[in-house]
Symmetry: D2
């Protein structure tokens, strides 16, 4: 079985494994204060074009989201997010477990809009007794979203503007950031993104690393004491070297972007094959996740050799599945999938 | 200005004030262990027809909701509730502050259905990795709802059945319980209600008391250590006598039902007057809260002498307002309101 | 049985009951925004000599402590307090339930010192990795303490100075504030106290009110959005008038101080009688709580007619009990107790 | 500089690195449901002699402690632990952040006793109003303790007995479990330990793995829904294979015990050298952590070539330091340290 069901099936990019092996018996201090983390921080700052940012390395995405959000909000505040946002759906209430409501905004394409944020703020402020309701305290969005779509530069500027107007910190979940930035439809660069947000993270787990997310704090007010929050939420890896070394590898020589681009290229090849076959999509995604809608025969035909995630039952006859590529996707496996798509009923 | 904007504008029923005054200098032990609380517990159990129930007195509704829900749920569980439920909207995230997600179900009439609960459970259980999502751990509903509607006996039996099937405790918020049970359209009695739920509370604040809610725990499994939870959530009134005395007064000689019935009667008179005038309603409510939709001229005409809550902007021209009666509503004030309605443009 | 076991056995001062009765059927808006609360806020500010303070009325002490502390601290911070502090012992972990550690400091007399606070801060800052430990984020102390002792003006100034040096907000639990300020040994006034702290509360429950604590926020930075925290913690009483009216009564004509002084006077009479009899004390308390140590015969002799709290087993033969007076203590009952003390073996 | 300051300076045992490399491009499902985790679970159960235990793999110790404790306790309960316990000192209030108090028991040697636990339970139960205090809900102990001491089989049986008497689950933090079990003074085996506890974890991070802790749940009542808690606390590693593979390597062919024994052997060689030199110790530790007390000259002499943790200032002249060995400690480095100790002033 060839697996396309997610983007974390394999281990890490060979260069990372090589460096892990090469440094395995070196003695370093713990908790992210070793030279590899220092180097990684330098490279990440450079890639983001913000020399003043604080960079922290955490193990996983739920941890990163929870730590950032719990660190930012005051106790009676909640976080504005798409109803389909990862924090609202797939983190077992991690945000709520820290005392905060996810203020879910409706969405069809996984994105939220500046207008929605403004509307939420106005609705809150115009309440007769606003203190009876959760105060919106920040904005969370995913880039790309959980269903593969991406925000345009203009959309993000619009959101930034509203955030400024209402003093809302803007947090971007970049678990798949590389696959968004390297999409052919993306019109924003990493430094441009970094300038528009208060805090975001660069996903490693799904983009070449064994594990690890680089939290980049741009907003001055949010930097204070962040390491306390990391530790409290169980996110401070004893052997910080493992994280530093992975990110320093990914951000030396643009490896992060190279592997991201390759994954998106393979996804686009699959997308084209599906389109050529006349297959409809749940959503038009320009990134590494594709959501074709198959009928039962098609699904059965492909399921002999390939593994997908069932995403959503569309109707009695049709199912939307998720097909993911990643940094580890082999071209020959994509070739086989394309051939199988061609042979589908 | 005559106030109809809520059902907690005045103090307490004169009989309660009289007894508070009469016992003021008596010395009693604190924290709900005095003879007045004992007597009140006995009377409440009797009114509910469940001699084995545990009865606790708390000061307010947010406290009661938070204490019960935090006591029942395991850390990774959430509470199923109508999107318009008080806990989801008007308690500043109190439930989330204890670590739990409110799993909001859509509703038009303020009620949730057995089918919705079952669907939520099936959706959760059929998830590929259910542990990535919040587990539904109990059901919350309001009787009457926040917009004045009530569940029929059959609807509640249906919900009970689903709750049994999925081992979900059922909790009823009865902040306005009297106004529901004494509605002309209500087909369920207090003992019948008590038999269908695991825990509920009988609202005093809005129904004749100065303040106070009587939490009635029917389900054996939920009783253990509840006083710890009351204390932890700041709900254990030092001078418990104040609560015991109020509830023993309300539940002696059926006072609770007498004052409730009177409030609903007055609301029905207002409703008839509005219907006679051809006014539309946001919802057809058979209880003490009425939600007529006025145009600008009508609203202006009434606003000279009467105070309402603005509930919802319906369109450019029309506004839904809330008109509340209560145990304290004076017949002559209702007469004046009816006359003014008759004179409206 | 005459009860001396606590200072919340009775109801409220007759003047309060009278006003509650007199205003019972008035219609007021809820949640602390009525004219009685406004008046009470004005009077409390005046009594505190700080016209710029924010004043909020909450129902009880646990609620007040939890709301203030959860509002002030950042998630990874804890509160420095005496190991015997009410928040560390008798609130069922309410502070921890909001996510914060109580950083307990040892004490013999119920008080903490400026030196202890400084030592705790230095120990934290000199840690190799301070982010692995809870950061001290504020100071909590009780005035008077849980065992009746009081801080001198000089002691409080010393604590203030350390708090300033380390940017620690200072919070004073004044559940029995009147009994401290009216002690013959007290050398600080309410306005002087208010100038030294960031936030404190004036206890009503134990000092003349039916219930209620007035939280006074002096520090500008702590004022923002406090009503959200009150509501979230279930502390926003629907019928705010009840609280406003009680505090406006207590702070008109110095009633609060008059009733406090009387209670302390009676306690001093009891203390003298005990001293005359040669009874030892657990601690030398100049306020309304006295902690004499009785042998078994003495305890038995008094227990026929009087109720005390057993405080602590001192040794096989001796028990320290708590004897409380309050605003409601009758002179004739104290006379009887004194006579009984005289007759003790 | 040769580092002895902690037991997590290096990476992982070469066999682990080799297997990570060998399986790097295999495709496996995520979240601990891959064949490597299955195999590791089987081997861990076998090593523990409890075929019915649930085994879960988490990334780090703070995560493991927080997840287990938050999963076990009811909201108003706390965890009994040594005042020097890791959860009470070095986890930035992670336990409190989930709402629970750490009920700290005094200790000189890092251990708590059955008598202390019983005393805490009796004190709680004999309280006049126990619901005003945090209810002890479980027992936490570390094996070995944070200062290297270990419990005897008899001590643990005694604790188990008290836990049974008061229905307290017993949780053992085994971050350094191997170094305890392989101590020459240890009289208990892993299966014997597993039979005495309800839940414990086997530390990998400090004992041969890159990272990872294996939580073993023995008590039937504690098993339900544990994966929800792992996910909520951010502890569910996407690429579960990494953990499964590490633990299957450590528990095949007794590698875990082999590397542990070697580390303890080296620690004993250092201990003997220190004893031969007449150096006193803060505590007599039979495991991989040693706490010698050096004077200034001695400390200076060793600090040129070796890195230790400063543990505690003993007096003006003397400092206790921590010297750790681990699975990675090289014999030649210990030889050099021993030589240097011999040359100390």
């Amino acid at each position: 079985m060839i697996q396309f069901q997610c983007d974390y099936n394999e281990g890490a990019h060979p260069l990372i494994m090589e460096r892990l092996l090469g440094t395995n018996m070196e003695q370093t201090v713990g908790y992210g204060e070793d030279p590899y983390c220092e180097e990684a921080r330098r490279l990440v700052r450079q890639a983001c074009g913000c020399s003043g940012a604080d960079v922290h390395f955490l193990v996983g995405g739920t941890q990163a989201n929870t730590t950032v959000i719990a660190h930012l909000l005051r106790p009676y505040q909640g976080v504005l997010a798409a109803v389909s946002g990862h924090i609202n759906v797939h983190e077992t209430g991690a945000i709520e477990s820290t005392g905060h409501k996810v203020l879910a905004l409706p969405t069809g394409d996984g994105k939220i809009t500046a207008a929605q944020i403004e509307e939420a703020m106005l609705a809150h402020l115009h309440e007769d007794g606003p203190e009876h309701m959760v105060q919106p305290g920040m904005v969370y969005l995913s880039f790309p979203t959980e269903i593969g779509t991406i925000y345009s530069h203009a959309e993000l500027r619009g959101i930034r503007e509203v955030c400024d107007r209402y003093s809302l910190p803007l947090f971007v979940d970049g678990a798949r950031l590389g696959y968004g930035l390297c999409s052919p439809e993306c019109d924003i660069t990493l430094p441009e993104l970094a300038r528009l947000v208060d805090v975001f993270y660069i996903g490693g787990t799904k983009v070449g690393a064994l594990f690890g997310e680089a939290v980049v704090i741009v907003g001055e007010a949010l930097k204070r004491d962040f390491r306390y929050s990391i530790k409290q939420h169980g996110g401070m890896l004893a052997k910080g070297r493992l994280l530093g070394l992975q990110f320093s590898t990914l951000f030396a020589d643009n490896l992060y972007f190279a592997v991201s681009r390759q994954a998106v290229d393979e996804a686009m090849r699959i997308k084209s094959a599906l389109q050529a076959k006349g297959i409809a999509f749940l959503i038009d995604s320009p990134t590494n996740q594709q959501f074709p809608i198959f009928n039962k025969e098609q699904l059965a035909a492909l399921s002999d050799d390939f593994l997908f995630s069932v995403w959503q039952q569309v109707d009695e006859e049709h199912t939307a599945v998720r097909i993911c590529t990643s940094w580890a996707t082999k071209r020959e496996n994509v070739d086989r999938l394309i051939a199988a798509i061609g042979r589908m009923p």
